[in-house]
Symmetry: C2
Subunit: 382 residues, 2 copies
């Protein structure tokens, strides 16, 4: 299902030989219309992969007929030759489908700095075009890298459907987007509405996921609308359904983060502004000492406060409360209930930080820092 849950879409996932494992590594998602409206958000990393540079041009007119995605190589920092591979890939898709290359988004993921073999990519495009159908599951498998499982989500609106797929397990600290996500809908909405709905949804979902503080060069979230349901939903309802899909996918990304043994939910309340709440949550989410402590089931709240202290957020160090899994371990900047009352053995860890200066709030999702994270990212180039 996933990207083929909504009416008007076909997909495929094939093995093009880009992954040394021989697994599925090239996905194609096609919008059969009647509408071909689209929106996309991209990594805010200033070092952008070739497919990002290409796709930013494609999305400019809000028209997208298809999106082709490969794992097995990021096609980033591969010079003019790498850009030519992206361009040729889009042209091959366009020719196979009878559409314009300027309406084909391209996404890549894998090791930075290696060239993609163009011949294998082109053969893969041909295979994928021939295999198109209700194959959203194959597509979601073909975009996996170090993911241990595919991420898919489908929600029903009033008479229309929103479905999506995502990949991402490391380098997970998106700025506006995360890794590769494709969402499709058969709602009948113009690209300008899709764009604002997508920005609203990603701002509170993928943008609040900060697994390891490392922003990718290839992040892309695309939303394609076929209009095939004939339903024109209200912008608010559509944004809510879209946000639910994005949040579901973001939590699946968190749950499968490289080497993680805990999914940490950092809820910041009582902030002077939402920006403050996000800054505080992100600072804690990026604190290696705190993350290592959670791995060791150690409710080391001093590391939470040390991380808050590095932010520019409005707060009084002597009027901050911190709770972990429901136990308030710090009250007014001093010890409260004993650390030993906190049970951090479940995978899910809730950290609540009350700044006590205002009414704004935000939640950041992160993971712990584990031996397996170090192992996966030292033993394998990815």
């Amino acid at each position: 299902m996933s990207v083929t849950a909504a009416k008007g879409f076909e997909a495929a996932g094939v093995a093009a030989g880009l992954k040394s494992s021989g697994g599925l590594d090239l996905a194609l998602v096609v919008n059969r219309g009647p509408l071909s409206a689209a929106a996309a958000v991209f990594t805010s990393n200033r070092a952008k992969a070739n497919p990002i540079i290409w796709s930013q041009q494609v999305i400019a007119d809000g028209e997208v007929s298809a999106i082709v995605l490969n794992s097995g190589g990021a096609n980033c920092f591969t010079g003019p030759q790498g850009f030519q591979v992206t361009h040729s890939t889009a042209e091959a898709v366009a020719e196979a489908l009878g559409v314009s290359a300027g309406d084909v988004l391209v996404c890549s993921t894998g090791l930075i700095g290696d060239q993609l073999p163009l011949d294998k990519v082109l053969a893969g495009v041909a295979s994928a075009a021939a295999a198109l159908g209700d194959r959203g599951e194959d597509a979601s498998l073909a975009i996996m890298t170090t993911d241990s499982k595919p991420k898919r989500s489908v929600r029903e609106g009033t008479g229309y459907t929103v479905g999506g797929m995502a990949k991402g397990a490391g380098m997970l600290a998106p700025g506006l987007a995360t890794m590769l996500v494709v969402i499709t809908t058969d709602a009948d909405l113009p690209s300008a509405v899709l764009d604002s709905a997508l920005r609203a949804a990603t701002r509170v979902s993928f943008d609040r996921l900060d697994s390891d503080g490392c922003m990718s060069t290839n992040d892309q979230v695309s939303l394609l609308a076929s209009g095939a349901s004939g339903v024109v939903p209200s912008v608010d309802e559509f944004t809510a359904v879209l946000t639910a899909v994005c949040l579901d996918l973001a939590e699946q990304l968190q749950g499968d983060a490289e080497g993680a043994s805990h999914d940490i939910r950092i809820e910041v309340t009582g902030a002077a502004s939402e920006d403050d709440a996000v800054e505080v949550g992100r600072s804690v989410a990026r604190n290696n000492l705190f993350k290592a402590a959670v791995f060791g089931n150690d409710p080391n709240w001093g590391r939470v406060l040390a991380a808050i202290g590095t932010t520019s957020a409005e707060f009084d160090p002597y009027d901050v409360d911190v709770s972990m899994n429901g136990v308030r371990v710090c009250h007014a900047g001093a010890p409260d209930r004993p650390r030993s009352d906190v049970d951090l053995s479940p995978r899910r860890v809730d950290v609540h930080i009350a700044l006590n200066v205002g009414q704004a709030a935000a939640t950041i999702l992160t993971n712990d820092l584990t031996h397996d994270y170090v192992h996966e990212n030292s033993a394998y180039s990815s």
Copy 2:
């Protein structure tokens, strides 16, 4: 030697029972004059420990007679009771030495959020005052926490001496200072000169050390001058000697960082400004994926570029060169020499990033991300 290398200083290190190991855990350094000039820089963390809050008042008039330091507890987020412990400690030192409590700096290091036992601290102060002498080595041992060895440095100026000690192995990302450092000199200089020299020296030494991105609540670097040499050096010469001591201590901190297996030196050249060079170096130094790759002896330069891309520094992603241990692996944003040419097996790793937009440069010192780092910071509260 260390803090007792310069004339006019006495020190001691005793076991006050603050460390469960029973090791040395309380140090006292006394300036016997004739001068009692001093300067200090403190953590820029907004969550400050009680001894920082106290010491910032003490240093205001540039007069310091003694500094007392304890390991075994950070005395941070311990409320009014914790501040009272700091205050009482300074008063006990003042009484034992016949000086003013307002001229006694206090430093603490250890777990955040636990109360220090005042009775043990006061007994320790009495023992230390009784043991004062040429005991800079004992003092340098008493301030260790997870350090595997003491850090000491001595340099001779023209007719005067600068010596120091430092501790710090984790939470090493100082903002203006790092962990605990005490430097003494018998040069005859007023506190205003000491202050500007210390700020100049720390800016290019401790401030360029970013082992794990985690800024402490207790960082303090103090410089005490006794004037006992009778020598009034030039400000430039003194700053150069002081900077050499600070750099030596910073490199010792790097070399003993928790769990590290590589000392990484990130040299950024061709930057538009020194701030840009520091921002780029620090961003790479804080990138967990890059740090894990170095642990695995993997010259994964794509992660270097991805980290540069998250900065606001002036650069063109397609005109950046990256070398690792002398091998240029990336030229003009594309692959250059093969990764396999790079040997990352030595402990020392040199990363050179040429931004090719200006003349400014900076070097950041960091460490790799290892299993031992995760182990030390998950298995033990510190």
